[in-house]
């Protein structure tokens, strides 16, 4: 136990915590857009899996990392179109259609992995970029300023998403269709169009989340690579109170719990390691229990909109 709480281990936990927050951030910020418009997209994990595969396959065959990111984003966009068609146009129960999308993504990514790659291989993913001057600060430098570009991108996304949602007309419209779709409709805002846009944007970001995992962090693909990270990302949106800054706090907390359990395993500390593996999931339930900031919950969350129905 003493080994665990030494300064060196703490630094190690912090150095994995920052990069591994990236997939949570992409996915959860994307889901924030989707949910703010009133659509719960539970298929995030399936989107992440399929995009992670697509990015990995592209990089394995072309070696072009940027092309890998682009392909992952496109796969995310296509999955988003499928989700919005089922949930917005066909007005399906969102909890169910999301699980369907998850099963589809999980199944298809496994199928494609087995038929086109077969065994677990690795690629040369995005390399850490040392930010001049800042990267040389002792301790903090290596933790914060020696990461890969997708990781920096994830953290940059937070203020951008906040600005779009809080300070632009676009953000106002997304909120309007999530809070009171009937009123937004009378004001001439197309509810369906805004929801399509938000779900597709969210799914594209979920695609980047998958790519950040398979071509920037672990640099491999295997069946069910995400192991439920997408669902945790959905929970983070509730935890963060539909606010990008809240989501950032949640993502860091979960990433910390995750790296804690990784290092406990690596160091081979037997007693807490079995329990530590459960920590991120226990923490998610605890977070859902205490996140009482429901005043911010979009009023029309989970409710399909049909004209003429109050």
């Amino acid at each position: 136990m003493n080994k665990l709480f030494s300064f060196g281990v703490l630094v190690k936990i912090l150095t994995t915590m920052i990069p591994f927050a990236a997939p949570f951030l992409y996915a959860a910020i994307g889901e924030t857009f989707s949910q703010t418009s009133g659509v719960v997209n539970l298929g995030v994990d399936g989107i992440m899996l399929l995009s992670a595969y697509a990015a990995f396959y592209t990089v394995l065959h072309t070696g072009n990392l940027w092309l890998g990111l682009l392909v992952a984003a496109l796969v995310g966009l296509l999955m988003g179109l499928l989700m919005s068609f089922i949930s917005v146009t066909l007005k399906a129960e969102q909890g169910i259609s999301g699980i369907g999308l998850y099963m589809f993504g999980l199944g298809l990514s496994s199928l494609l992995f087995e038929t086109t790659i077969g065994t677990v291989k690795t690629v040369n993913g995005f390399q850490p970029v040392n930010i001049p001057w800042l990267g040389n600060i002792p301790v903090i430098g290596p933790i914060l300023f020696q990461n890969s570009i997708p990781v920096y991108g994830a953290f940059l996304l937070v203020p951008i998403a906040w600005w779009v949602l809080e300070k632009t007309t676009l953000g106002l419209r997304i909120k309007a269709v999530g809070q009171n779709p009937a009123a937004a409709d009378t004001l001439g805002i197309s509810v369906d169009k805004m929801r399509y846009f938000s779900v597709c944007l969210g799914s594209t970001l979920a695609g980047l989340a998958g790519a950040s995992l398979s071509i920037a962090l672990v640099n491999l693909f295997q069946e069910n690579l995400t192991a439920g990270m997408g669902f945790i990302a959905v929970a983070l949106v509730y935890f963060g109170g539909w606010n990008p800054w809240g989501v950032l706090g949640g993502a860091l907390l979960f990433s910390a719990a995750n790296s804690f359990q990784l290092w406990v395993q690596v160091l081979g500390i037997k007693v807490p390691s079995d329990v530590a593996v459960m920590l991120p999931y226990l923490l998610t339930i605890a977070a859902l229990t205490i996140s009482v900031n429901r005043a911010r919950q979009p009023a029309a969350l989970n409710k399909p909109f049909e004209r003429g129905e109050s």
């Binding site: 089922i86 007005k91 369907g100 999308l101 199944g107 459960m278 859902l288 429901r294």
Partner: protein, 377 residues
């Protein structure tokens, strides 16, 4: 999903006589969904350079072409039916239980631990007690998200998913530690699995030389029981009322959170029973992958059965057959059986997407009924 604006029919007046056109619609939409999903599956098979006709006939002959195929399909249908029954109860209360995997795991753990500990008990008492404990273990695992939803409004979809991961880790902890097979420890293989159950705890076989066990009968009997529970008892009526219209239920004095928690607990119980039966009838020991994905496939079976306990019977047999047939397909045309998961996902998407038509149809018929009533004085 229970159509929200069909609530009037169920809550206030029941139409006399049997509603044939509703049955036809309830059959046509799911069957159509499965057919379209299989069609997309065929396109994927073509893309994978496999002949879809050969692949699908291998699937059919694998599932239905022999005694062992048919009984295997029924063996896989059994946990699907049990999980699906629980899903029916939960979804009827508008509570979405994604926690089947975890609840199955807990049922399996307890149904392994109990016979191994009380291995001297005779079978006639050991089997029913173990089945009951499996049910209770799953129910306890469903109760936690149920009470969290009732008391603290915790989203049950997310909490049940997290409970799945916790249950899986808990099982790993047990089969790598206290419950590891002593024979494996002694021989030094350290296989992550428990010891085999004592023989008298095994469920009796229905057909000699096959895997078909008595659990299948238990599942079918319970399907009828759940039908009577939901449509012929006060508690069942309240569960459905809560799902159809929580506001109206609250105003008529029904304790909505209580019935939501109850439905999730019962759903957990049925999944736990599925886990216990899988241990006692098929695997006879606890090992990794014991859930077989039934927690998710059971949801698909319940949706395809239009959330009707009796409809889940044919739906689970269909999916049991698909799962068995997929293995045969993998052998004959070398297409991974994970294709079946793609098809299952598409079925869920199509069936949930087609609910719009059944809703619109119900609304149209309601308005035409109102016109008829105006004509008749």
């Amino acid at each position: 999903m229970p159509p929200k604006n069909a609530s009037e029919g169920l809550l206030t007046r029941q139409r006399p006589g049997f509603d044939w056109s509703k049955l036809v619609l309830n059959l046509a939409l799911p069957v159509g969904g499965v057919l379209v999903a299989l069609l997309i599956g065929a396109i994927m098979l073509l893309a994978l350079k496999a002949n879809p006709i050969v692949a699908y006939s291998a699937m059919i002959s694998g599932a239905a072409g022999s005694l062992s195929g048919v009984t295997q399909s029924l063996v896989k249908a059994t946990p699907l039916l049990l999980v699906g029954l629980g899903i029916c109860i939960a979804f009827r209360a508008n509570v979405i239980n994604i926690g089947g995997e975890g609840q199955i795991t807990l049922g399996a753990i307890v149904a392994t631990w109990f016979p191994l500990t009380f291995h001297t008990w005779p079978g006639w008492i050991l089997i029913p007690v173990t089945l009951l404990l499996g049910f209770l273990a799953g129910a306890a695992w469903g109760f936690v998200p149920g009470i969290l939803k009732a008391r603290l409004k915790v989203n049950e979809i997310l909490s049940t998913i997290m409970m799945n991961s916790i249950a899986t880790q808990f099982m790993y902890l047990l089969i790598r530690g206290p419950m590891m097979d002593p024979a494996g420890v002694a021989s030094g293989t350290f296989l992550a699995q428990s010891a085999a159950l004592p023989r008298q705890a095994w469920l009796p076989r229905l057909v000699p030389q096959t895997m078909l066990h008595a659990g299948a009968i238990v599942a079918v009997v319970l399907a009828v029981a759940v039908y009577f529970f939901l449509w012929r008892t006060t508690i069942g009526y309240r569960i459905r009322a809560v799902g159809l219209n929580p506001d109206a239920s609250r105003h008529s004095g029904i304790n909505v959170p209580f019935y939501q928690a109850l439905s999730l607990t019962l759903a957990g119980g049925f999944a736990g029973l599925a886990g216990a039966i899988e241990i006692m009838g098929v695997q006879h020991r606890l090992l990794d992958g014991i859930t077989g994905g039934y927690g998710f496939t059971g949801i698909v079976a319940a949706l395809l059965g239009s959330l009707h306990p009796l409809g889940v019977i044919p739906a689970s047999i269909l999916f049991g057959g698909l799962l068995v047939g997929a293995n045969e397909m993998q052998r004959s045309v070398q297409v991974p059986s994970s294709l079946i998961n793609v098809i299952l996902g598409l079925v869920v998407l199509f069936v949930s997407g087609s609910a719009l038509w059944s809703r619109r149809w119900a609304a149209r018929r309601k308005s035409s009924e109102n016109q008829e009533e105006q004509v008749e004085p």
